[in-house]
């Protein structure tokens, strides 16, 4: 099987950011919490590779820790979607056409009807802006996504002969869902997880940009951008790096998602969106 070039590129790009985020736990060029006013607004130099901001904080170190914030928020948000959404989807598919199915699917439609950003803003406003509430806000919208993908994938499996065989053998719906359905829709879930991961990164950036994500002094790419906006006349480079980081990370994840989809489902290789 030929591995698509986009997949390799996407994996390398994504892995790079994950490694940088991990590295930031043990080492950053400078301390991100230390304010060093004497060195504020420095241009890139040998000491500060990407320069410093208005508080004298090192841009590169901020970016590294920002990657950690973004990835942590997105991973937990995707986790919420999987942990709640997948069992809902399995239950809906196992009881196709029943009241349970109907309630789960209409509930999904309902969540989809809420403009996600508005609700995210609402949640963070009610419970106060913080990284945890940003995670919740993004995570809630992952639930119907995973429920829908799971149900769709599971429904087509339920019509197959080997599932019928398992039923004849006396296995219950719950056991069949866990032992036969779930392992066979894992590829769908991984692809969807990658896509939701990248959407989570974007959503976290947007929320922290408007001040509703991780709070200072925790560095985040979105807030770096909102701070840079006021200084765009004097130091446009401050707005450049966090933006490029978001684009590269999201691009990497999207390419990885597309590549994985191509790899697991060659039928889609023709004319995919």
């Amino acid at each position: 099987m030929k591995v698509p070039a986009t997949l390799i590129f996407g994996v390398i790009l994504s892995a790079f950011f994950v490694l940088v985020a991990l590295l930031s736990f043990v080492w950053t060029p400078h301390d991100v919490a230390a304010l060093n006013i004497a060195d504020k607004m420095q241009a890139p130099s040998a000491t500060y590779w990407l320069g410093t901001d208005h508080f004298g904080r090192d841009t590169l170190s901020m970016l590294m820790v920002g990657a950690r914030t973004s990835i942590a928020v997105a991973i937990v948000a995707v986790g919420i979607g999987i942990v709640i959404g997948v069992p809902l989807g399995l239950a809906a598919a196992a009881n196709r056409g029943s009241l349970i199915d109907e309630i789960i699917m209409r509930g999904n439609d309902l969540v989809f009807a809420f403009p996600s950003l508005v609700i995210a803003i609402l949640i963070t406003a009610v419970f106060g802006p913080s990284a945890v509430n940003a995670i919740l806000a993004i995570g809630i919208f992952n639930i119907p996504v995973f429920a829908r993908v799971t149900r769709g994938g599971a429904l087509s499996l339920w019509t197959l002969d080997y599932i019928l065989a398992a039923r004849v053998a006396g296995k219950g719906r719950l056991r069949i869902s866990a032992e036969h359905i779930l392992p066979n829709i894992l590829n769908l879930l991984i692809v969807q997880g990658t896509i939701q991961f990248s959407l989570g990164i974007l959503a976290e950036a947007a929320l922290s940009y408007i001040g509703l994500g991780a709070q200072p002094p925790t560095p985040s790419w979105g807030r770096m951008l909102s701070e840079a906006q006021t200084m765009i006349y004097t130091a446009p480079r401050l707005a450049l790096w966090p933006g490029l980081a978001i684009v590269a990370m999201v691009l990497g994840l999207n390419l990885m998602g597309d590549g994985l989809r191509d790899l697991t489902d060659p039928r889609l290789r023709r004319g995919r969106a």
Partner: protein, 315 residues
């Protein structure tokens, strides 16, 4: 068809009721007493109590829900705590910015995406196709608020063709208004255009593989003729669906862009309402946005079923 429309309308109504209960419940949880907030720190407890009464905050929860819903249905959205004017008036003002902005972005995204998708599909596998697919991949990955900042830096700060933000109002004339909305609309349109171009490309590639296209080619139509006369029309169905869904998304998604450009639109109103605890504004606006999304989805469903009878069957 009528039966299909009726069942869909029923589920629309049900969704709206559930949505309104959820929104009401969430708003109830928001900490802080709006009356105390409005009157400031030095207000006497009696004054706060009087205002609570006047704002209808003292009724039981079901009473307040019913009066809120009753008001929404009759077009009375209550009075804003902070602006001290009817919410319906505020909404009408803000819609004058948000709806033109969303439409502007939608038009931009459509006129960019359809030809681009068409070119990519008809030159599939070529350098142009790869270039377009790469560019749209990038367009999806760019956060629109960052793209907005780049636009401001290039066209407002450096070239000085546009203002960096603000809105003069339509009274200043059509052109100044449109000019103020141009950069925000471009920023909003970029990710949408990227998604739409990809949908257009894949829809067209799929229809180009259909038997009736082969028939059309067999009877002597050129590739271009077959594309424009037969494939394009069929490929436009999914594209139109996405365009319909993007409108409501653009209306809500403008919150961030409106903040970047200091535009007095609906999104900014919601954002301010939340930070200022103006609950009446927030719950009415969220309800209106949800209503808009559910309604658009409903209309798209109906339009689809009108075109394609197969979709009328119960799912």
């Amino acid at each position: 068809m009528l039966r299909f429309a009726l069942t869909r309308a029923l589920s629309l109504a049900l969704s709206l009721v559930v949505a309104s209960v959820v929104i009401f419940a969430v708003i109830e949880v928001i900490p802080g007493d709006p009356a105390a907030y409005m009157l400031g720190m030095n207000a006497s407890p009696e004054a706060v109590e009087a205002l609570r009464d006047q704002l209808g905050l003292n009724g039981s929860i079901p009473e307040r829900y019913i009066s809120w819903m009753g008001g929404m249905l009759t077009g009375d959205f209550g009075t804003s705590y902070t602006y001290k004017v009817p919410v319906s008036e505020l909404v009408a003002q803000r819609l004058n910015v948000s709806v033109p902005l969303a439409l502007y972005a939608l038009v931009l995204s459509t006129i960019i995406a359809i030809p681009v998708g068409l070119i990519a599909a008809s030159t599939r596998g070529s350098v142009a196709d790869y270039g377009i697919m790469g560019a749209t991949q990038l367009g999806i990955a760019v956060p629109n608020f960052w793209f907005a900042m780049i636009l401001v830096f290039i066209f407002a700060v450096t070239l000085r063709w546009f203002n960096a933000g603000g809105f003069p109002g339509w009274d200043a004339g059509l052109w100044p208004g449109l000019k103020a909305l141009t950069l925000p609309a471009v920023a909003l349109a970029l990710p949408q255009a990227s998604i739409l171009a990809r949908v257009m490309r894949s829809a067209l590639i799929e229809t180009l593989g259909q038997d009736y296209i082969r028939t059309a080619r067999a009877k002597g139509l050129s590739r271009g003729q077959a594309t424009t006369r037969h494939a394009l029309r069929n490929a436009l169905i999914p594209v139109l669906t996405i365009i319909g869904l993007q409108f409501s998304f653009l209306l809500a998604g403008a919150i961030i862009i409106e903040n970047v450009f200091y535009l007095p639109g609906l999104g900014r109103l919601i954002f301010q309402g939340i930070t200022q605890r103006d609950l009446v504004v927030v719950e009415s606006l969220v309800m209106l946005l949800v209503f808009a999304v559910i309604l658009v989805t409903f209309l798209v469903d109906i339009a689809y079923a009108a075109v394609d009878p197969r979709l009328r069957k119960p799912r």
